[in-house]
C-alpha cells in the first residue's frame, strides 16, 4: 500500500484509466492542488502580517525603524489582499504570481532573521507555517526546491554566528524538513484517495447503469 502511495499515484491512475481523462474534472493535479492550497497560503500570510504588525508595535526602538516596518507590512498586506480578492471572485491567479509571492515571504523572513542576529533570532519559526502552506499547494519538486533553499540559506546564517550550537541548528533544520515532508506526503495521500474515490464512483455507476443504455 505504501509503495503505491509513494509512487506518484496521480501518474499511475491516469495511465490505467483513460476514461477518467475524458471526464470533465478539468485541470491537472498540480493546478487543482494550487487552487485548493492557495487559500491556506493566503491565510498563513495574513497571520504573518498581523503578527508582524503586533511585534513591530510591541518593541518600538526608533521612529525610522517602525516607519520602515509599517511600509513593508502594508505592502505585503496589499499584495495579499489582491490574492485574497482573486480567490473571493473565483478568478484563477497566475501560477507564477503565487510562486513568486511565496518566494518573497521566504525572502522577507530571511532578511528579518539576518537583521535580528541570525541564530539568536526567534523569527525563524515563521518559516514553518510558510513551508507547511506551500507544501500542501505546490508540486513536490517545487516544495523540495523551496525547502532546500531555506535549509541552505538558514543553515548558513546560523553557522556563521551560532556554530557552537550545532545540535540546536540541526534540530531546527530537521523540523523544517519534517514540516515540508509531512505536508507533501499528505498531499500525495489525498491524490491516492481521490483516485480511489473516482474508481469507486465509476464502478458504482457502471453497476447501476440500465442494460438498455449499455446496448445503445
Amino acid at each position: 500500500m505504501t509503495q503505491t502511495i509513494l509512487a506518484k499515484p496521480e501518474e499511475n491512475d491516469t495511465e490505467k484509466e483513460p476514461l477518467l481523462e475524458r471526464s470533465n474534472f478539468g485541470g491537472s493535479w498540480q493546478e487543482k492542488d494550487l487552487t485548493y492550497g492557495q487559500p491556506v497560503i493566503v491565510a498563513v500570510r495574513w497571520i504573518m502580517i498581523v503578527s508582524a504588525l503586533v511585534l513591530a508595535i510591541w518593541n518600538v526602538t526608533s521612529m525610522h525603524e517602525l516607519r520602515l516596518q509599517i511600509v513593508v507590512i502594508l505592502l505585503l498586506a496589499v499584495t495579499n489582499f489582491y490574492l485574497q480578492a482573486q480567490l473571493l471572485m473565483k478568478r484563477p491567479v497566475n501560477k507564477q504570481i503565487v510562486y513568486g509571492a511565496s518566494a518573497v515571504d521566504i525572502l522577507l523572513i530571511t532578511i528579518l532573521i539576518m537583521f535580528q542576529g541570525g541564530y539568536s533570532s526567534s523569527i525563524y519559526v515563521f518559516y514553518l507555517p510558510a513551508i507547511a502552506a506551500f507544501a500542501v499547494a505546490f508540486p513536490r519538486g517545487l516544495t523540495a526546491i523551496y525547502t532546500a533553499v531555506v535549509l541552505l540559506v538558514y543553515g548558513f546564517i546560523c553557522l556563521t554566528n551560532g556554530a557552537g550550537n550545532v545540535d540546536v541548528i540541526v534540530s531546527r533544520l530537521l523540523m523544517i524538513t519534517a514540516v515540508a515532508f509531512c505536508g507533501s506526503l499528505y498531499l500525495q495521500l489525498e491524490h491516492k484517495r481521490l483516485a480511489e474515490a473516482k474508481t469507486r464512483e465509476e464502478e458504482n455507476f457502471l453497476e447501476n447503469m440500465p442494460v438498455q443504455a449499455m446496448v445503445e
Binding site: W58, L128, S171
Partner: protein
C-alpha cells in the same frame, strides 16, 4: 451529487490514510531527539536518561508503522494517546534537558511537525483541542521553569511569537483538512449523466 461514502467511512479513511503523516512526523522528531541526546549529553547518566526517553517513542512508532504496513492501522484512540505522549515527551525535554530550560530551551520546535500531522488527520474539534493542549502545556512549562521571563518584554515577545506560530500550524491543518473534505465531495464528483456519454461506456 449523490455521495456514495458515508461520513463515518470518510472519517475512518482520514485516520487510515493520514496516520502515515503522523508516523513520519514522529520519526523526524525521534531522529532529532537522538541527535540531541548523542550530541549534547555531558555525562553518562544524562545519555542513559535521554535514551530512555527516546527508546519508548521508537518502539511505539515501530509498532504503529509496522501495523500500518500490514494494513492493520492503529485506531483513533491509540493515535490520540500517542500524540499526547509526543507532546508530553517534548515538554519533558524542554523542562529537564541540561542547559537552558523552559522558554530558553530551543527544543520547542519539535512541537510543530507533530501538531501539523495531527491536525491533518483528525477532525477540526479534536485538532483544536490538541493544539490548545499543546499551547497550554508549553506556556505552563515556560512559566514553571523560567518564570523570570515575565519581567522582560523582549522574552515575553518571544513566547508570543512561538505561541502564534504553533497555533498557526494547528490552523493550517484544520483549514486544509476542511478544504480536502469539500474537495473529495466536489472533485471526484462524477455526475454520471453529465460526465459520460454512452459512447464512453461502451468503450469502457
Amino acid at each position: 451529487m449523490k455521495t456514495l461514502q458515508t461520513t463515518e467511512q470518510e472519517a475512518a479513511e482520514d485516520i487510515f490514510f493520514g496516520q502515515l503523516v503522523i508516523i513520519y512526523a514522529r520519526w523526524f522528531v525521534v531522529i532529532a531527539m537522538t541527535i540531541l541526546v548523542l550530541w549534547s549529553s555531558e555525562t553518562l547518566t544524562q545519555m542513559v536518561i535521554g535514551i530512555l526517553l527516546v527508546v519508548p517513542l521508537i518502539i511505539l512508532n515501530f509498532f504503529v508503522h509496522g501495523r500500518y504496513l500490514m494494513e492493520k492501522p492503529a485506531n483513533r484512540l491509540l493515535l490520540i494517546f500517542l500524540a499526547v505522549i509526543d507532546a508530553v515527551v517534548i515538554s519533558l525535554i524542554i523542562s529537564f534537558w541540561p542547559g537552558e530550560k523552559g522558554l530558553f530551551s530551543q527544543f520547542y520546535v519539535f512541537y510543530y511537525p507533530i501538531i501539523l500531522a495531527f491536525t491533518f488527520v483528525f477532525t477540526g474539534r479534536l485538532s483544536t483541542i490538541y493544539t490548545l493542549f499543546v499551547l497550554i502545556l508549553y506556556s505552563a512549562v515556560c512559566v514553571i521553569f523560567s518564570a523570570e521571563f515575565l519581567q522582560q518584554p523582549v522574552e515575553l515577545e518571544r513566547l508570543v511569537i512561538r505561541l502564534i506560530t504553533i497555533a498557526a500550524m494547528g490552523m493550517i491543518g484544520v483549514y486544509y483538512y476542511r478544504i480536502q473534505r469539500s474537495r473529495r465531495k466536489k472533485d471526484p464528483g462524477i455526475d454520471p449523466l453529465e460526465t459520460f456519454t454512452t459512447a464512453d461506456l461502451t468503450t469502457a
